[in-house]
């Protein structure tokens, strides 16, 4: 029932953006990343040779992306009006949905994790809720809320709360017995127990849940924009499909892929920092 | 049957290299039970893995029945130090034992029969359909001995086979080893760091030094048979040999009286 950990990439060290010190770092990066440029070149050659409209060459895609999104003034980081119209709303939905689901998931998760009785009553509901494919909500919500941010946020929150919730339940439930007993012996109040013992010791689990949620949030942001939106990257994707514009379509996919990649990296950086603090704190207390 | 000449092995290279074997010469003749003792981490397992062809030594060679060992020889079985990891948890005990027999081209029926026989020898006839993880540590170790026995190897290598079982089980397993070698005409190389055990089971005790391992003693054990846990251990020769091996293991020079 757990969202299993192995699905997480173990290669936090493969960050190509890291600043390698000296020649050895460069050599290491080359030996690790050489296939990426090779793949790009093969992609270029392959698409040129095949010459089908559905598979434009990477250079075509890059040119299209530039002309769509990067023809603005330097003062705006060259972002075009189109980019400024569509990127921020998408990001806002993504982060707002993820943050809301994160807070709600942690709060509910701690409650369910610490109260065996409550969990017993709610368990089937949680498992049922988790099993509903979140895109099913779109046709349900669109007539209720009509197209707009509220409906998109609801979809994202509903879809991504489960990994956080279940992981938090897991973390909060299996707090080291000795830690809890120590807290009781020294008469820590309920709030102190929550902040000083339960939450810190659940942090690794909570982060595992948040990481799964983040990539899920990206997926749901896209689908909610594809189905019902008037702006956003997903909306542009849909527009490109309707206009039969494969280069624009690929461009949007590339942007979303880059977004996913950057989000992953950023999350790993934050997680490492937070969890190392966690480890250090555990050692000193 | 086994001739080891000037065997050396170094793990890694450069400043972090670790020289585990520093030139081992050892001959074992057919039917012998040789115990190898040495301090922890000296390179006993490394020696055994070189003999089994699981590791390519950096120098010297191992000759088994006249042929140099390059890959794992056919007529050889290993009882690993880490028995619980060497039994396959997804197979029943009987399947664990009969799996290697596939290599000998035995049919299904024959394999089952051999497995059953081996289990009876180690006193686990009732556990054939259990899974390894349903057994206690000592029982698991007996299963891995049974697996080696069923294979009927000419040479059996045992790496601290009784290392992690309780004292009573350990004595039982020692006696089991003595018993089965009487039944089959096997050559056995048994690694241990228990000095008592080496003298009790061995025909010969070979003592290795700290890393890089060299042979610092090679003693013949001539104790009256059949050996048994109480009388043999009280025998004056046993006591003397034990003290001798102990001195060698601790790196002291041998007393001139017992150098053979």
């Amino acid at each position: 029932m757990k969202h299993s950990a192995p699905a997480s990439p173990k290669s936090s060290g493969t960050s190509p953006g890291g600043s390698p010190s000296g020649l050895r770092g460069v050599a290491r990066a080359v030996s690790r990343l050489w296939l990426v440029p090779v793949a790009l070149v093969l992609w270029e050659i392959g698409t040129r040779a095949a010459d089908t409209p559905y598979f434009p060459s990477p250079t075509t895609i890059a040119v299209k992306m530039r002309e769509m999104w990067l023809n603005g003034p330097a003062s705006r980081l060259w972002l075009s009006d189109l980019a400024l119209e569509n990127f921020p709303p998408s990001l806002a939905r993504l982060f707002a949905g993820w943050a809301l689901a994160g807070v709600a998931g942690i709060v509910l998760g701690v409650m369910l994790g610490r109260s065996v009785l409550l969990a017993r009553f709610v368990d089937p509901l949680v498992h049922f809720g988790r099993a509903i494919p979140p895109p099913m909500l779109l046709p349900l919500l669109i007539p209720l809320m009509s197209i707009g941010t509220q409906m998109q946020l609801t979809t994202i929150v509903f879809g991504v709360i489960w990994p956080v919730l279940l992981n938090t339940v897991d973390g909060a439930r299996y707090v080291d017995r000795q830690h809890m007993e120590t807290a009781r012996v020294f008469g820590l109040s309920w709030g102190q127990r929550l902040w000083r013992v339960i939450l810190p010791s659940s942090t690794p689990k909570i982060f595992a849940g948040l990481r799964l949620s983040l990539s899920l949030a990206l997926i749901l942001m896209v689908i909610s924009e594809l189905v019902g939106s008037t702006n956003g990257i997903g909306f542009q994707l849909r527009a490109a499909e309707r206009a039969f514009d494969p280069p624009a379509l690929w461009g949007a996919i590339v942007v979303l892929g880059l977004l996913g990649y950057v989000l992953n990296l950023a999350f790993f950086a934050i997680e490492r920092r937070v969890l190392s603090w966690h480890r250090a704190a555990k050692q000193t207390t | 049957m086994l001739e080891i000449s000037n065997l050396t092995h170094t793990y890694g290279s450069g400043p972090s290299a670790h020289n585990a074997l520093g030139g081992i010469d050892l001959n074992v003749s057919e039917g012998e039970l040789v115990c190898i003792v040495g301090p922890s981490g000296c390179g006993k397992s490394t020696l055994l893995r070189s003999i089994a062809g699981l590791l390519r030594p950096t120098g010297g060679q191992v000759v088994l029945n006249g042929a140099p060992v390059a890959q794992t020889p056919d007529d050889l079985a290993v009882v690993f130090q880490d028995y619980s990891r060497s039994l396959f948890p997804w197979m029943s005990v009987a399947d664990n034992i009969s799996l290697p027999l596939r290599r000998k081209g035995e049919g299904r029926k024959q394999r089952a029969r051999s497995a059953m026989e081996a289990l009876e020898q180690v006193g686990l006839a009732g556990a054939a359909d259990k899974y390894p993880w349903e057994l206690s540590g000592g029982m698991q170790q007996r299963v891995s001995i049974a697996r080696a026995l069923a294979y009927r190897p000419a040479l059996m290598l045992m790496d601290e086979p009784f290392g992690s079982v309780d004292a009573q089980t350990r004595e039982d397993l020692e006696d089991l080893t003595l018993r089965v070698r009487g039944h089959h005409n096997m050559t056995i190389l048994l690694i241990t760091h228990d000095i008592d055990e080496s003298v009790y089971v061995g025909d010969r005790v070979v003592v290795l030094s700290k890393a890089p391992a060299r042979i610092v003693g090679d003693l013949r054990v001539d104790l009256p048979g059949p050996r048994d846990q109480i009388n043999t251990r009280e025998h004056p020769d046993f006591v003397r040999l034990r003290a001798e091996v102990g001195r060698l293991v601790r790196g002291m020079r041998t007393s001139p009286a017992s150098a053979s």
């Binding site: 029932m1 990426v36 793949a39 368990d123 049922f128 989000l263 | 396959f88």
Partner: protein
């Protein structure tokens, strides 16, 4: 004492929880606290849920979704597991391919649906293609991870009896990786359902639960049917997930028993 018995029984508590929620919602609807055009009465929804169970049109659509789901997963397993085994057994190849995986994996799979709509005229092909793309990652990553986790002593044991590398792969690496692969396939199963339904929502002229829901949306009491179909999608999710978990428990008892994992 009876109270103890009730509170100690997980199934009973769970059932009470579900019944309680349904009753509260029904009461709220009857008391007109909730607008029935926003949330229909629970009893109405439950009736619809029951009706759909024998509704031929709906069942055909469920069949279509599950066909795509099953074929997509099958294709994923058939392609990805051997690939994962290959990558996991050849570390140099793995290091070379790793960055490609790390770049491709974060692409949100649903973003490929519009492209797939253009490329695949056939709706089943379309669904299978996007399901494949989305569900290959958990299977691939878990296969590779599991392969790294194979006990070297177990491999050496087989080698010591003179078995070659292929025999070791087949008899040791594959069985001990199997539980990890199974976990990957179970996670992939959940994702595949999301993708199948998303594709049905987006690609016109498709059939399946998603298409059914879109069609229901245009009828006057469509909301009731949409909610009922959503319930069924949840039930399908629960059932398939439980089947996977049950199969894993049965097949890999050795794994869970050893690792001391429960649930």
């Amino acid at each position: 004492m009876t109270r103890q018995a009730v509170l100690g029984n997980r199934v009973l508590c769970g059932a009470l929880g579900v019944a309680g929620l349904l009753l509260v919602m029904e009461a709220a609807g009857r008391a007109e606290l909730v607008d029935p055009t926003v949330l229909p009465l629970t009893s109405t929804i439950l009736t619809r849920v029951a009706e759909l169970a024998v509704d031929e049109e709906f069942l055909v659509n469920v069949g279509a979704t599950m066909t795509a789901w099953g074929l997509g997963l099958l294709l994923t397993v058939a392609v990805t597991v051997p690939l994962g085994l290959l990558l996991g057994s050849l570390p140099r190849l793995e290091t070379a391919v790793r960055p490609l995986i790390e770049f491709l994996r974060p692409i949100p799979s649903v973003a490929l649906i519009p492209l797939a709509i253009l490329i695949f005229p056939d709706r089943l092909d379309l669904k299978i293609a996007v399901i494949f793309y989305a569900s290959c990652w958990p299977v691939l990553i878990n296969t590779m991870y599991g392969l790294q986790d194979v006990d070297p002593v177990a491999k050496e044991t087989l080698r010591s009896f003179g078995f070659g590398p292929l025999a070791v792969l087949w008899r040791v690496s594959l069985p001990s990786t199997a539980p990890f692969i199974a976990t990957g396939v179970r996670l992939a199963g959940g994702i595949a359902l999301i993708l199948a339904i998303s594709a049905e929502l987006l690609a016109g002229g498709s059939d399946g639960i998603g298409a059914y829901v879109i069609k229901a949306g245009s009828s006057p009491d469509g909301l009731e049917f949409i909610i009922a179909a959503t319930m069924w999608a949840g039930i399908l999710g629960v059932v398939t997930n439980s089947l996977f978990i049950g199969a894993e428990r049965r097949l890999f008892r050795w794994h869970t028993a050893r690792a001391g994992v429960t649930g």
